[in-house]
């Protein structure tokens, strides 16, 4: 029973991780909490749904959703955040993000109504037995796909030029631009990648829980954000670990404590982390340069 819950937790957690990565990467470079990120995740789920309903193979749909959200994320950055960069306070950027979040969720609600839609049966779910532990094929797929995406991300960040540029920007944006890095492009790319990952998370959640609805992004977004903070906001491995931990803790909390407080678990963790170790599990204490 425990192992099943653990697997459930890791499955849920990897979707949180995929969303959390978007938050953490954007925050690391532009210090913005992208409130609209949850809505990108939601769009990923829906676009995947539309593509599947149009008859496409699930993996093509995944790709399609990721590409769509990549573009959406870049569009949002261009229209709602870039004009505010540098000249306005952090607060204006945050409020702009909230505006985008409201806009996008309402858009989908107007188009689809607020009710839940079910995903058509795309991947039959077979249950496997590893000794006495049961795991479904769906869970395996989610864990594998998430794992691949996360590994891919790490590789990209550590080994490619873009990755290096991203790391430089997260350390010192101004200096990076002075060194000839096209900061605007790096930021766009960061949003693109984060959005693609969130889209994947959205689609997989849609299939796993067999439900999508326009406001699914709000709660998931906030929880994924808590996961990013838990892992250390700005740290990529942190977001991965934070997401997995949060998923496990949430499932365990529901299984062993109480299910009615499920949603509060993420936020309780958030507050605890901020009080005890604000830099999160993987973050480092930074001292301000005055």
């Amino acid at each position: 029973m425990f192992w099943e819950q653990l697997i459930n937790g890791l499955t849920l957690g990897s979707t949180y991780a995929l969303i959390a990565l978007g938050y953490t990467m954007v925050y690391g470079i532009v210090q913005l909490i992208n409130f609209a990120h949850g809505e990108i995740y939601m769009f990923g789920a829906f676009v995947g749904l539309f593509l599947v309903m149009a008859g496409m193979n699930i993996f093509i749909a995944l790709l399609g959703a990721m590409i769509f959200c990549m573009l959406l994320g870049m569009l949002v950055e261009r229209v709602a955040y870039r004009p505010l960069r540098g000249k306005s306070s952090r607060l204006s950027a945050l409020i702009s993000a909230i505006g985008v979040s409201i806009f996008l969720s309402t858009l989908m609600a107007l188009y689809r109504g607020t009710n839940t839609t079910r995903y058509p049966e795309v991947l039959g779910s077979t249950t496997y037995n590893l000794g006495s532990i049961q795991i479904s094929s769906l869970q395996i797929i989610i864990l594998v796909v998430s794992g691949l995406l996360m590994v891919g991300l790490q590789v990209m960040i550590q080994k490619t030029r873009l990755g290096k540029a991203m790391r430089a920007c997260s350390q010192d944006l101004e200096a990076s631009s002075l060194m000839g890095i096209n900061v605007n492009r790096v930021i766009s790319a960061t949003f693109a990648i984060g959005s693609a990952l969130a889209a994947a998370g959205g689609l997989m959640v849609g299939i796993y829980y067999n439900a999508v609805w326009p406001y699914m992004g709000t709660m998931a977004g906030m929880k994924a954000f808590a996961a990013a903070v838990l892992g250390g906001i700005g740290s990529v491995p942190g977001a991965m670990i934070g997401g997995l931990c949060l998923g496990v803790m949430e499932i365990m909390g529901v299984a062993y404590l109480s299910s009615s407080y499920k949603d509060a678990i993420a936020f309780a963790i958030l507050i605890l982390v901020l009080f005890i170790r604000p830099q999160g599990l993987m973050g480092q204490k930074t001292s301000k340069k005055v």
Binding site: L84, L110, F267
Partner: protein, 292 residues
């Protein structure tokens, strides 16, 4: 007074005026925290909720008189503000935003599960004691006290913290203590507004105090002009009336709302009255002095 109003003013307009009054109290509370002191609080509805439920439970289950219940609600909200403020305000600004979101959510889930509060079904039977007069007398008192505070030594120090925290410290301002003070007082007003709300609506529900409510109040402060009392009032009026005025296009209201926020931030981030201060008026009067 109440009777006079009931006879001469249409009930609908009365209702709106009361909402505007309550929202002004809520918004001025948030304005003190975010507009004046520059600390972003995104869970103001959580304090509203605490004030609402506390006062409602006291009224209904314990027969507490209206004013005592409201005050108790406000004080409890302030207490929580204080408790949360102390550990959080030592940290970087973004953390307060995160903590307040988390806090408001926990409060919401708590009341969803809180038996005496009616859980998800909500809490009804709250005596309708909030009157136009009550609300507006409180509003006027709050406005006066806020104005005096802004022009005092403590008020100035809060503005200074918003502008440049490190310089404020160099001027001898204990920034953490001042931030906690602002946050506590702001939360108190949030709780006060919540109590008044509960005793007007007769029925409350945890969903009334969700994240969107916090955002609504934040928008009133931001739209009107951060740190400005007249600005906040204007923001409240516009955003309280808008849903009524736009009832026709109710479905699209949120869409427009979201887009409006983005546009506002890009073109006028300090809100409508944010950049207008008493100084400009003084300057104009000053120029009227004739040079001989």
């Amino acid at each position: 007074m109440e009777a006079f109003l009931a006879q001469n003013v249409d009930g609908y307009y009365l209702r709106i005026m009361i909402f505007i009054g309550i929202n002004i109290i809520l918004a001025l509370g948030l304005n003190l925290i975010t507009g004046v002191t520059g600390q972003l609080s995104m869970g103001h509805a959580g304090f509203m909720s605490l004030g609402a439920y506390t006062s409602a439970i006291l009224s209904v289950h314990f027969g507490t008189p209206f004013f005592l219940a409201i005050i108790a609600g406000a004080l409890l909200a302030a207490l929580f503000g204080f408790l949360i403020g102390i550990p959080t305000l030592r940290l970087d600004g973004d953390y307060l935003a995160m903590v307040t979101i988390g806090f408001a959510e926990i409060i919401r889930v708590f009341f969803l599960n809180f038996e005496p509060g009616g859980k998800a079904v909500g809490f009804s039977g709250i005596p309708q004691e909030t009157t136009f007069t009550t609300v507006w007398i409180i509003v006027i008192v709050v406005i006066i006290l806020n104005t005096k505070l802004f022009n005092s030594r403590v008020g100035r120090s809060l503005f200074a913290i918003r502008e440049n925290e490190i310089a404020a410290e160099a001027c001898g301002i204990n920034t953490t203590r001042m931030k906690v003070l602002a946050f506590t007082v702001g939360s108190l007003l949030g709780g006060l507004g919540g109590g008044l709300y509960a005793h007007y609506m007769y029925y409350i529900n945890p969903q009334d105090f969700g994240f969107m409510k916090s955002i609504e109040i934040l928008n009133m402060v931001v739209l009107g002009g951060m740190g400005s009392i007249p600005g906040t009032i204007i923001g409240v009026i516009i955003l309280t009336l808008a849903p009524e005025v736009l009832r026709v296009v109710a479905e699209y209201r949120l869409l427009v709302y979201g887009a409006l926020l983005v546009i506002l931030m890009i073109f006028r981030p300090n809100g409508l009255l944010g950049d207008v201060r008493i100084y400009d008026l003084k300057k104009r009067w000053g120029k009227k002095e004739v040079k001989i």
